[in-house]
Amino acid sequence: MSKTKTLSKTGRDHLITYGMVIIIYIVVEILLHAGLINNQMQGLLVPVCYYSVCAVALNLCVGILGELSLGHAGFMCVGAFASAIWSYQMQSTSMPAGLRFFIAFLIGIAAAMIIGVIIGIPVLRLNGDYLAIVTLAFGEIIKNLNSALFLGIDSKGIHLSLKSAIYLNLEDGVDPIVNGAQGIAGTPRDANFTIAVIVLLISLFIVQNLIDSRDGRAIMAIRDNRIAAEATGINVTKYKMLAFVISAGIAGAAGVLYSHNISTLVSQSQYFGYNVSILILVYVVLGGIGNMRGSVIATAILYILPELLRGLNKYRMFVYSIVLIVMMLLNWAPAAVMFRKKLFARFRKNEGTAEGGRKNGTA
C-alpha cells in the first residue's frame, strides 16, 4: 500500500516539473502570438532555457554528486564551439537544417563529455574546496585556449594553431572557421524557444530518472558518506565520474543552444568565464541544492529579474546584489530558518485550534 503511494509520489513530483515547464511554454507561446511580449523579453527566452539546462547540469554535480564545480561555463564553451564549427562547416552543404542541428547537439554533447572525462580524472581525486578551485582553473583554461584558437578546414583536413591564422597554411580561398579572439562569425541560428524547451525537458528527464535509478542512489551514497559507500561495495571513482561526465554533457547541450542562438561566438570572460559558472551556481543554490525544479524556477526568475529592474536604470545590478544577499540571509541563516519554523508552527497550531473549536461548536 505504502509502496505504490511513494512510487507515485516521486513520479508525481517529476510530472509536476515537466508540467510546469510545458505550461509556462504554452503561456509564453500564447503571449507571443498575442504580441504581448516585447522584443527585449523575447530575446531572453532561449537564454533562460540554456541557463536552466546548465543549472540542472550543475545541480547534478553540486546537489547529487556533492562536489562544488566552478567551471561549468567551460563545458558550455566546449559544447558551443564544437557544435558551431560543425554547423558553420555544414551550412553550405545540402544537409537539412533540422538534421544538421540534431547532429550539432550530438557533437557538442560528446565534446563536452570527452573534456569532462579528461578533467574528471585528475579533479575527482581532490576533495572539497580544492576540487572547486581546480574546476575553476579548468574552466578558465578552456576559455583561454578557445580565445587563442585558430581553426580551419580545407581539402587536406583540419588545421589548428594557437598563434595566428597565417600558421594554419590553409589553401587559397579557404577562410578559417575559428579566428582566435574574434571567434566564429556566421553560424546558423538554428535554436528557437521550442527547441530550447525540448532540450530543457530532456535534460530534466535524464537527470531526474538518473537520481531515481540504481546509479543515482550510488552517487548520492558517495555524497552522503564516502567511506560507508565504499564499505557497501560502491565503486566510488566510477560513479563520481559518471555523474560528472553526464553533468558535463548536459552543460555541453546548453552550449549548443547558446552558440546556435547568436551569430557571432566569442570566448570571452563575460560569456564563459568563472563569473558565468558562479552565476549558474547562484541559480542552483537559490533554487535549492539537489532540487531540479527549483533550479529551473530560480534561473528563470533571477535571469529575468535584472531585466524587470531595467526601470531602475543604472541601479539595477546594485539592487540585484542586495536582493541576492537578503535572499541568502533569509533562506539560509539558522536564525531566520528558526524564526520561519516557529511562525509556521504557530500558524498551524492556530489553524488546528480553530478547527478543533469548530468541531466543538458543531458538537
Binding site: 581532490l126 578551485i133 543554490v285 540585484y320 544577499i325 541568502m328 539558522p334
Partner: protein
C-alpha cells in the same frame, strides 16, 4: 638581461598576489569560507586613495593609511552583516553565494559612484628606482617598495600569529572551531580581527598594484582576487608562508610566460601550474595532510 627584468617585475607582481593571498588564506583558515569578495577590497581601497589624492590633493601615504582603515572597517562590517548570520548554515554554499553577492554589491556600488571609465591611479611611490649593469637592468621604485612591503608583512604576520595572544586564538580557531570556543576563545572577536587584517592587507595590495598598473575600474580587483586565491591554494591554503610562496611563484610564472610564450595564454599557463601542483600534492606546497578518522 631582459630575463632579469621580467623576473624582477614578476616577483613584484607576485608580491602583490602574495599580500592578497595572505588575506584570503587567513579568512579561509579561520572563518572556513571562500570569500569571493576579497579581491574587490583591492578596488575599494584603490578608489579611496584615488579620491583622496587626485580629488582632494592629500599626501599619498596619508591617503594609504586612511584607505587601510576604511577597508578594514568595511571588511569587519561585511563579516558581521552578511557572513556571520550564515556561519552555522546547513550548507557551506550559502555563505559562498553571499560572498558573491557582496562582490556584486561592491563592484556595482563603485560603478554607480565612479562610472565605468578607467581612472588614472596616482602612484603612491615617488621614487624612480635604480638602474644596474650600466642601464641594462632597471628596477622601478614601485617594484622595490612592493617586494619590501610583502616581506615586511610576512614577517609581521608570522610574528603576530605565533607570538601574540590574538594570533594564538586564531590558530586555535583554525585548528578546531568547537574546541576553541570551549577553551574560552572569543571566536567572534577572532574572526573580526581576521577580516580586519585581511581587508587592510587588500587595501595595501591595491595601492601597490595600482601604482604599478595605474588603471582603475570597478572590476580591477576581481581577477587579481582569483589569482591570489589560486596562489593561496597553490601554497597550501591556511598557511601564511605558503601564501607567500604561492603568490611569488604565480607572479613570476605569469610574467615569464607573457614575455616568452604568449600573452594570450599566460592565464591558461598559470592555471595549469595550479592543477599540476595539486595533482602531485593535493593540499598545496605547504599544506597539511588531513586524515579522516574511521
Amino acid at each position: 638581461m631582459n630575463f632579469l627584468n621580467y623576473l624582477i617585475s614578476g616577483i613584484s607582481l607576485g608580491a602583490v598576489y602574495a599580500i592578497i593571498a595572505l588575506g584570503y588564506t587567513m579568512v579561509y583558515g579561520i572563518a572556513n569560507m571562500l570569500n569571493f569578495a576579497h579581491g574587490d577590497f583591492i578596488m575599494v581601497g584603490s578608489y579611496i586613495i584615488y579620491v583622496l589624492v587626485s580629488n582632494q590633493g592629500m599626501n599619498p601615504i596619508a591617503a594609504l593609511l586612511i584607505s587601510i582603515v576604511c577597508c578594514a572597517g568595511i571588511g569587519v562590517l561585511t563579516e558581521k552583516v552578511a557572513y556571520k548570520p550564515l556561519r552555522n548554515a546547513k550548507s557551506r554554499l550559502a555563505v559562498l553565494i553571499t560572498a558573491i553577492g557582496v562582490s556584486y554589491f561592491l563592484e556595482n556600488g563603485a560603478l554607480l559612484i565612479f562610472g565605468s571609465n578607467t581612472k588614472a591611479f596616482p602612484s603612491i611611490v615617488n621614487w624612480s628606482g635604480v638602474t644596474l649593469f650600466g642601464g641594462q637592468v632597471k628596477i622601478q621604485g614601485t617594484t622595490i617598495v612592493t617586494i619590501l612591503a610583502s616581506v615586511i608583512i610576512l614577517v609581521v604576520l608570522q610574528w603576530f600569529v605565533h607570538k601574540t595572544k590574538e594570533g594564538q586564538a586564531m590558530l586555535a580557531v583554525a585548528e578546531n572551531y568547537g574546541t576553541a570556543t570551549l577553551m574560552g576563545v572569543n571566536v567572534n572577536h577572532t574572526i573580526s580581527i581576521t577580516f580586519l587584517i585581511g581587508s587592510g592587507l587588500a587595501a595595501i595590495a591595491g595601492a601597490l598594484m595600482c601604482s604599478a598598473y595605474p588603471s582603475l575600474t570597478p572590476y580591477t580587483g576581481a581577477m587579481p582576487g582569483i589569482k591570489a586565491f589560486v596562489a593561496a591554494v597553490l601554497g597550501g591554503i591556511g598557511s601564511i608562508p605558503g601564501a607567500m610562496i604561492g603568490g611569488i611563484l604565480l607572479g613570476v610564472i605569469e610574467n615569464l610566460s607573457k614575455a616568452y610564450i604568449s600573452s594570450q595564454l599566460s592565464d591558461a599557463i598559470v592555471f595549469s601550474i595550479l592543477i599540476i601542483v595539486l595533482l602531485v600534492k593535493p593540499t598545496g606546497i605547504l599544506g597539511k595532510k588531513v586524515q579522516v578518522k574511521v
